[in-house]
Symmetry: C2
Subunit: 454 residues, 2 copies
């Protein structure tokens, strides 16, 4: 059944094509003809194929089964896959508690600066309100970003920077630019779940290396580079998602050396940078944007509603990336969006706001760790910053089971295996400390754990 499904989904067989005869397919598969008869009958019952009297089996009616990245169905029933957390959290009604989600509560965001920016924009130029803007996006925002890079010691030219519709779209463009179906792409285990969802859409092979408190396990990393020849490595260095770990200088150096020896390109997602209490090593800075591509966005710190990301990369790659963005989005990101972001970033209040947020997160992190500890749930490490706590459950607990139970009680958790390519994180949950303050979260968790134990 799987073999026929594969032929149909890969379109080796299309609507109306005749399936192999029972006898020949039995021979090909090394099974008995009666096994093939049963498989064909079941596929016919599913509607994928159809029997025609006296002439065999044919691929049925209405065209190609559309590409599915995950099982369809109403959110509640769907598999706990890399889409589970995003769909559950994005589409949750406002009463649902989301300790598993990947963003700050709305009232933690710099909304008054944004409101000022909106009022300023309402008095701005017609062209900003009406037009597509340039293909690389707002020069003002690009200059601001280049200035921030320079302060880190990363000198880049304006030609090396383009704005995109979001951080995710930045990675997507790079994947389109670099990858072909079947290529191998390396990610951390665990890693941000949407890397997996995105890579599935590119039909590439996903390979992974275990992540340690100082970065990827370098022995495993080097072995995978030799064995799998991945084309791309996608990671985030500052405050790694989901673990909150920090890349050490030694791992960073060894990683870049291995990448160079194997001609590996690296996408470094810098989205949590502004949450760091003090700077940590960055691959993009060490490498000077040669084989490392930096991407980022403003969704975590400024607004997830005003979508904008960026790509900083080698100059000779940018024309191709810009063409791809024109082909697939037409134009760069919204000038209205980039104007608002530039206006908040350039304003005096943003730095102060981020300082406050870092302090608030540090307190929330300690408090949530203590409350989790009382349930026997322990952080894998205590992050230097950011809003995640990657936690191990007590012996015998399965995070997917807890997540399914908790969602019935209006609590969205982030179970470990959605982050794990090897599915080795059954015993882990990722907590967002800023979203775990509601006193109803812990009783639900405690109840689910007790029920699961029974």
């Amino acid at each position: 059944m799987a073999a026929i499904r594969l032929k149909v989904s890969s379109r080796a067989l299309v609507s109306g094509d005749r399936l192999p005869s029972i006898r020949s397919f039995a021979a090909t598969m090394g099974v008995s003809p009666s096994t093939v008869v049963e498989a064909y009958d079941r596929l016919a019952a599913e509607g994928l194929i159809r029997a025609r009297r006296g002439s065999g089996f044919y691929v049925a009616g209405s065209g190609l089964p559309p590409m599915t990245l995950s099982e369809a169905g109403p959110p509640r029933d769907r598999a706990v896959d890399p889409f589970w957390v995003s769909r559950q959290s994005l589409d949750a009604d406002p009463k649902v508690m989301k300790p598993g989600c990947g963003w700050l509560p709305a009232d933690w965001m710099p909304n008054s600066a944004l409101r000022r920016a909106l009022r300023t924009l309402a008095r701005g130029e017609d062209a900003v309100l009406a037009h597509y803007g340039s293909t690389r996006g707002s020069p003002t925002l690009r200059r601001l970003l280049l200035g921030r890079f320079a302060k880190e010691g990363l000198e880049a030219s304006p030609e090396q920077l383009m704005l995109t519709g979001s951080g995710t779209q930045a990675i997507d463009l790079i994947c389109r630019f670099m990858l072909r179906p079947g290529d191998a792409v390396l990610v951390d285990d665990p890693c941000y779940f949407n890397f997996q969802a995105l890579l599935r859409a590119h039909q590439v092979r996903i390979v992974s290396v275990p992540y340690t408190p100082t970065g990827p396990d370098m022995a495993a990393f080097e072995t995978v580079l030799t064995a799998e020849r991945p084309r791309l490595y996608i990671t985030n260095s500052a405050l790694h998602n989901p673990t909150g770990a920090t890349l050490s200088p030694q791992t960073a150096y060894r990683l870049l050396s291995a990448a160079s020896a194997h001609d590996l390109t690296i996408v470094e997602d810098d989205i949590f940078a502004d949450f760091e209490p003090e700077p940590s090593p960055r691959l993009a800075v060490l490498d000077g944007l040669d084989r490392v591509i930096r991407i980022g966005s403003f969704s975590k710190t400024l607004s997830a509603s005003i979508r904008c990301g960026y790509i900083a990369a080698r100059k000779d790659w940018m024309e191709g990336l810009v063409d791809l963005q024109v082909a697939t989005s037409f134009g760069g990101p919204s000038p209205v969006a980039t104007e608002l972001i530039a206006s908040v970033l350039a304003g005096g209040s943003y730095r102060k706001h981020m300082e406050e947020i870092r302090g608030r997160l540090a307190r929330a992190r300690r408090e949530v760790a203590i409350r989790l500890e009382s349930l026997g749930i322990r952080p894998w490490l205590m992050p230097r910053g950011g809003f995640y706590l990657w936690c191990r459950l007590p012996e015998g607990q399965d995070s997917a089971v807890l997540a399914r139970m908790a969602v019935e009680e209006k609590v969205v958790l982030a179970p470990g295996n959605v982050f794990s390519v090897s599915r080795a994180a059954t015993a882990f949950l990722r907590f967002n400390v800023a979203q775990s303050g509601d006193s109803r979260v812990f009783p639900v968790l405690r109840g689910a754990m007790a029920a699961a134990k029974k």
Copy 2:
């Protein structure tokens, strides 16, 4: 040389791989060994391959040549390909005249309604300013759209509609959902140039049928369906881009019948709908969103800076499309963007504004046609609405040559062949009548035509 380049770009050969020996490659290609030697030498001079003393030729150093959709290089020098008009118009400085571009001048847009909407938003909820929003996008805007569909006689349920980052992103998502590299996709000849750019990014085979004043040439359409078995047909029905033609009821019916017989899915881009003086046949309405997918956006009528598009399609396709949007953009379109758009659309002034714009365009269309006539440039047909005039040049003129000359004089034209898969439109230019009012446009055109004649 082309064969080796293809092997490298398709990655049949990767960095470090040995090239076929000169003798064997000569035999494969049916050429003399000295021809292969010369080809290898030239490729080595280009840096693509490298000779190693006594051991043959190898693919050179630094990794995969990245995917290029068009020739790279500074915009002025680049080929007049489907990216030419977009890159020239989007990145033009404000002094450049753009009679070839695809949008209205900024002061024709409903900016005062937008300014009001921005001020309202500045007083709005934190969540709208701060959060991603739901995966299908703003329920308010979706309800508004469904109400408009119902007025056309198209009843659709909320589950059949999702908002996207732009109209282009809507088509891109559908292509990702439906297509695999190598599939055939059918477009009109001529068609909107970015359909070609987008389809190239999907690595599909682009096939085309001639467009007539009442829709695609149906005899050619039926022949292509049989011969090429295209998976998808992408078109726009109301005020076809670039011709301004209108689909007739007879063509619409025959087209849908042929699509049904060949199990063809149709993407109907409805982006110019609000420019129609009175409604014309729509495939999506006739078919009831079964095999027709409607997409649209607000870029032409409301703002190209506030990016948002939509997809209306069969209910059973939507979960997969939503997953793809989450994987590749995370979340739906910006809640800030959809709030602004909903606010303008729901306001009383939008309908009045569009009435005025239609009148203004009708006058501009007549005036521009008269001025073009004086240069011997004639509209292929006089459109019922919209801002395009698809015009034939006098005998012997080549629109790409004129476009190259005009861009030096700060005028961006839209030469015919960027719209034509068969490159049969050398003698055509697309004019945007709203952008042709500047008195400097026609002298530049006249001068270029005179120079080209010499």
